[in-house]
Amino acid sequence: MGSLRLENIRKSFGKVEVLKGIDLEVKDGEFVIFVGPSGCGKSTLLRVIAGLEDATSGNVLIDGEAVDHVPPAKRGIAMVFQSYALYPHLNVRDNMGLGLKQAGRPKAEIGERVAVASKMLGLDKYLDRRPAELSGGQRQRVAIGRAIVRSPKLFLFDEPLSNLDAALRVNTRLEIAKLHRELSATMIYVTHDQVEAMTLADRIAILNEGRIEQVGTPMELYNRPANLFVAGFIGSPKMNFIPAATLRDGGASTVGIRPEHITVDAQEGRWKGTVLHAEHLGADTILYLDTEQAGFLTVRLFGEHRFGTDDVLYATPQPERIYRFDDDGKAIA
């Protein structure tokens, strides 16, 4: 229990069309992440699923039932917000229990469920504190706890990690992954961070300008991007795009090659270039090359390398890792 189906969801604010027909099927127990640049409509889509916004047209089905006219609290969903959104006047226990209290559940049951959730998240010691007395990470855990307590069919996360600092973000990410395994609940998660998307998701839906560009497992998106947008969005540093004409590659408009799929050699190779800048990250070395044949290229080498600015190098793409795109930006199989 906990499947979701979106049928041709459209949403306009005045004359601005934010969602332009979204179709998506999420299976029970699946972890699906919406990812896309800011303004692509991913948060709006989440709010439509939650019932906080009405879709202009289209249907939302939870467990096969249309919920378009069901208020948010009755949809069997729980949401975790970016700004935590804890009730400032209630302590942690009441923050987590309020939803159940509103639903008219008996006190004993509420207490029990709050106890289970707070134990799962290590919040037992803080139950009597107010949100103002908690750190950012603790507040976000309370917000997650508030969602767990309601044992919803569907968890919705709206950029839950973007207010946390880097170290805490990694920890909370692991916690969310663990939570998904333990609860085996259906989760929908919105983020603009592709690392979060790649590490957490069973499937990723990439949104751009109100449309879903591609849906697939992280590795499908990485290995078989459907178009230029997806190819450029997934992977860091970004994929190199080279106009096919400069490479005299007939039949394609753009050629793409990921920085990690280029090898360099000081003696020989396909494209001759000079190093504009080198970034030494320890595990990786990232080179920015200006090549004669292919223009500017980013190259990611694993491990430490001694290349520096102005070195002359030869870059060679791995032939089986070259992507080709047609005039519309679609991938050529």
Binding site: R47, L52, P72, M79, Y84, L86, P88, Q102, E133
Partner: protein, 279 residues
């Protein structure tokens, strides 16, 4: 403040300006209070000197408390002011919430319409208001004053509060909706506590003109039983003879309640600022 950003000259100048302003603002109040404790001749002979053994007199206060029904006037003023503030805050906040929170056709027009009252003085409508009150049988009642003052205070209240309510986190309101709170609970339990500083500001701005108003009490409720304190003080100002002792004593007394109300709201204001918000 860091040392690099303070210079003694600058802070002295700033304090000089502030002190000058304080003196200018407090001077009339001080003169009223000083002179209310003096006998009539002393008031005119040297209005700025403090009362001494010779000139000290409580005749003004005696007159005020003996003549006229001053306790009743106080009570009237308090009832009118408190009820009007309550009305302004309650209805103003509700309207502001609707304007800030809900998207509906004509929202900006409605906001403009409700804020227009800031620019148009309500006194221009005095004749119409009087006709309305006569038709409604509300002349010489405190209700008439409360209604007029509530209307007078609403535009500014809505204007200020809707700006503040827009800043209350959407996530918090949505979290309330997800938990099944009604819009009223969201408004009263989540939003209002967070805009308390703005409410205190609005309360202070609304309260003072109402307390000080002479115009509407004179026109709408001049009867003995509904007189407010400012109107009551006029008893002692005659066409030919003015009992200055009594006028000054009445005014001094009239400052007290408004001062107390102000202190209450200003404490709320500070508490509102320091209480923990969303993050």
């Amino acid at each position: 403040m860091s040392k690099a950003r303070t210079s003694p000259v600058r802070s002295a100048a700033a304090h000089a300006i502030l002190i000058t302003y304080t003196v200018v603002a407090l001077f009339p109040v001080l003169v009223i209070i000083i002179n209310s404790f003096k006998e009539r001749r002393a008031i005119f002979r040297s209005p700025l000197s403090l009362p001494n053994a010779e000139s000290f007199s409580l005749i003004g206060y005696d007159t005020v408390l003996a003549q006229g029904d001053f306790l009743l006037y106080f009570q009237n003023s308090l009832i009118v002011t408190v009820m009007s503030i309550t009305g302004v805050l309650l209805f103003g906040a509700m309207a502001a919430f609707a304007l800030a929170e809900y998207r509906f056709r004509g929202n900006p027009l409605m906001a403009l319409y409700l804020a227009l009252g800031i620019m148009i003085p309500i006194r221009l409508g005095t004749v119409a208001i009087l006709q309305m009150m006569v038709a409604g049988g509300l002349v010489n009642t405190l209700t008439a004053l409360i209604l007029v003052y509530t209307a007078q205070g609403l535009p500014l209240a809505i204007f200020i509060l809707s700006e503040f309510m827009k800043q209350v986190s959407d996530d918090l309101k949505n979290a309330g909706r997800m938990d099944g709170l009604s819009e009223y609970r969201i408004f009263f339990r989540l939003v209002l506590p967070l805009v308390r500083p703005a409410m205190a500001t609005v309360a202070v701005f609304t309260m003072i003109p109402i307390w000080n108003d002479l115009w509407f009490p004179l026109i709408l409720a001049p009867a003995e039983s509904t007189k407010t304190i400012t109107l009551g003080a006029q008893v002692f100002i005659g066409q030919f003879v003015t009992n200055w002792n009594a006028v000054l004593a009445a005014l001094s007394l009239a400052i007290l309640p408004v001062l107390i109300l102000y202190l209450i709201f200003s404490r709320q204001l500070i508490r509102g600022i320091t209480s923990g918000a969303v993050k």
